[in-house]
Amino acid sequence: MNSNAPTAKARVKEVEKDASMQKQKEMMAGHYERLTSAAETGAKVCSTFVPGNLNELIGCFDLLNNLPEVNAIQNGLRRTSGQFVLEAEKIGHSEDVCTYVKSDIGMMAKGNLAPNGKKFPNPDVLLLSYTGCFTFMKWFELLREQFKCETIMLHTPYLADGKITRNMIEYMVKQLRDEVIPKLERVSGVKFDIDRLRERLGKSAQAEEDLVHVLQSAKHTPSPIDAYFGGIYYIGPIFGAFRGTDQAIDYYRFLRAEIDERLAQGKGPVTPEGELGRERYRLVVEGPPNYTNFRQFWKMFYDEGAVVVASSYTKVGGVYDFGFRHDASRPLESLAEYCLGVYTNRSLPMRIDMLTNYLEEYQADGLLINSIKSCNSFSAGQLLMMREVERRTGKPAAFIESDLVDPRYFSAANIKNRLESYFQMIEQRRASVRPAA
């Protein structure tokens, strides 16, 4: 071999990231730093989940928020989730259990280290805002057993009939007032101040406005963003620990300007290998991505010129694109409405309506479902949804299968085969409707 030849490592191109991605990365790093130094700073920690999270409320009590499923995602992206899943199975959790749970349990068994290599603090309170995922409840049962800390459950009624009623809101506000707030006061030692909450909700609404603008930029052709793979970066701060903060306002303002710039220049999305060339397929994706092979998975799309213009997954932490914003003038009601409206709390017909709307509004070529092996609450009914969306829109749909953070359920050859077939199927159908030359 020629000794002057670059080594394999050197040949690998640096991953391209736009400025907002860098900024997002720094924010997340800062958050992990705050969490892992809680013992020194004396900050108290509230573990909670992304869907239905009450970040503004938690902030009112000076609590830091720790999101176990975001930690599992980090471990998936860093390729450590596989060993954690195995560890959890060794402890006794079955192969079919949600792999977010197993990654979390395994991580705790193996030192409970955050992405910065420092130990996670034990939670002082577990706040479960129940929005459709039954597993979350069981997960916190396990954590309660382990940490023996205060547990709070806020029950969000399921939107089985597709609408939010007055009763539902009253029921939730009562829980917030009588259960959640008093317990948070007790754990934190901080008195609840509704004006503080109002202020935070106002900040949330500002960031939400910019986020919606960014996500809806994908209505343009070509789309300046990928609303699934790129979208995951965009939702990070607002779905994570930053909703209701000045940092989130800054980030989304910055992101909006960046995307507007791309839009003005007619540019496509930024992929890890640079800017996407020609946009060939516009897709709507339902379901979470696979995190253990995230880059490889994304590459299967951008190599073919496929751009995701809308996705349901980027709505699990809040559905804002149909008008809902946190409202400072109705603080507790607004938190209730937020929880009621998150994607995981929506009935199958509501999800069908949403996906149909996306296919039409974003002028997509079709719907792709990534069905997650270990997530029944997402996967149940997906095939029926697919059929109905196909029927209503007349656009082709396809179905692939993988998992959240268990690398054993990612079969690259199988997924690639299906994706390529799907893209070619779209191409073939386009050609068949095109008038003969």
Binding site: E401, Y409, N417, S421, M425, S432
Partner: protein, 445 residues
């Protein structure tokens, strides 16, 4: 003459189909995929071209009125002669390659002995060659490796015994040489081989004088038709390993859909059970795919499963179907996990269940899984076409017919004797359309 080639690189076999500009199939070729897709594609393509020549001969003879129809039977004599030519050529190559192994010096002290033993083995293999390609002779396989291997092993054992020489040494020579031979393009043109075969066939059929001259001229005319390979499309699992550019690759789902449409234009649902995947495909009245589903990460219940069961039972894959047909009480088997298949089989045998009942149950289990995949793709719409290697298995077909009737009522079920070529046929048609649509062949290597 313009031709278009489709190659389906499956996990078990590689198939090629050559069509003409009127979408008529000229030839089909098949070979084992080995672990070398490039060779498999080349061999399958060559086989399809050979078959294509035979089609041209048939067409030419048919156009020659009475005289032609008189000689249609002669074509099978010609084909057998050609196969014999081909076999002898590869056998000679194999023998020379075996001798070439001495160059390494490893067996220098034994060279004289080994050489004479090999010489004797090959002489015996060659001596029985004509009989192997005689009318009515049955060959277990059409692949050179299988036929030559079986004959070599048998004679090598006998010769080794006669001259008190270790059998393994002779096998070693064979094993080292066969891969090389298999991967080497055949020497000489097809036309010359056909001419030699023609001479041999005329002699065998005792055709002389004017008739022989007439036949020779008809065959010669068709040999002179140049087959321009205008466009090639590859599909199947091995497609990405070939030096084809993107325009020359199609997904096998689209190819199976289109191929099934070409065989049966009223097809709306296609089931393909291949070596490592099972696909349920819905197509419209133009053969365009509207929906599809396939097995996920696990290849449970695919063709490989049957292959594994056959290995476990030490029988041939083709014997499984007939065995299952003997059952009148199929066992209830739920798992189609290939890994557990052996354990399931032994467990049931130890419980005293009959082999044919277990095998029938296994067939039912894979068809049940296929039905589940079809239903995920939207069920069965009339007409239904079953493709892939498993479509050749009568027991699988019996179960499929039963389950389709139970679940979807009376549906026309199409199973083409050439169903294994469905994907390659679709690929060839994609090649034709690409060419007609303006794409040209420079992109393929």
């Amino acid at each position: 003459m313009r031709t278009y080639v489709g190659i389906d690189l499956g996990s078990t076999t590689t198939k090629a189909v050559v069509i003409d500009q009127n979408c008529q199939v000229l030839g089909r070729g098949i070979t084992n995929s080995r672990s070398n897709y490039a060779t498999a594609a080349r061999v399958a393509g060559e086989e399809a071209r050979i078959d294509g020549r035979l089609t041209l001969f048939r067409r030419a003879l048919e156009q020659n009125g009475e005289l032609g129809s008189l000689f249609i039977d002669f074509l099978s004599v010609l084909e057998r002669s050609f196969r014999l030519e081909q076999y002898l050529e590869q056998l000679a190559d194999l023998e020379q390659t075996c001798y070439g192994q001495f160059r390494g010096g490893q067996f220098a002290n034994l060279e004289a002995q080994v050489r004479s033993a090999l010489h004797e083995v090959f002489a015996r293999v060659r001596a029985e060659a004509a009989a192997m390609f005689a009318p009515g002779a049955k060959r277990k396989s059409d692949f050179f490796r299988d036929i030559a291997g079986a004959r070599f092993y048998e004679h090598a054992e006998a010769v080794a015994k006669e001259v008190s020489f270790p059998y393994e040494v002779l096998l070693n020579f064979y094993d080292k040489s066969i891969i090389e031979v298999e991967n080497r393009p055949p020497s000489g043109g097809l036309s010359d081989k056909f001419r030699r075969a023609l001479g041999r066939a005329l002699a065998a059929d005792r055709i002389i004088g004017k008739e022989a001259a007439r036949l020779q001229s008809i065959i010669e005319d068709s040999l002179n038709i140049e087959l321009e390979e205008d466009y090639l499309v590859g599909t199947g699992y091995g497609r990405v390993t070939l030096p084809f550019s993107k325009e020359h690759i199609r997904s096998e789902i689209l190819c199976h859909g289109l191929g099934a449409h070409m065989m049966y234009p009223k097809t709306r649902t296609v089931l393909d059970i291949g070596g490592q995947d099972t696909k349920g495909i819905q197509i419209d009245d133009h053969g365009i795919v509207t929906n599809f589903q396939m097995n996920d990460r696990c290849a449970a219940g695919c063709g490989r499963y049957l292959g594994y069961i056959a290995d476990e039972m030490s029988i041939g894959l083709h014997e499984l179907g007939p065995m299952a047909m003997k059952s009148d009480r199929p066992a209830k088997i739920n798992s189609t996990c290939t890994v557990f298949a052996g354990a399931e089989l032994r467990d049931r045998l130890s419980l005293g269940e009959k082999r044919e009942d277990i095998v029938a149950g296994l067939h039912r289990a894979i068809i049940l899984r296929a039905i589940s995949i079809i239903s995920r793709a939207g069920g069965v719409t009339d007409e239904f076409t079953f493709t892939g290697g498993v479509a050749k298995n009568e027991a699988a077909v019996r179960e499929l017919r039963l389950l389709i009737r139970e679940n979807y009522g009376d549906v026309t079920i199409n199973i083409n004797p050439d169903s294994i070529y469905t994907g390659a046929l679709g690929a060839a048609e994609f090649a034709r359309r690409s060419y007609e649509g303006g794409a040209r062949t420079e992109a393929h290597a």
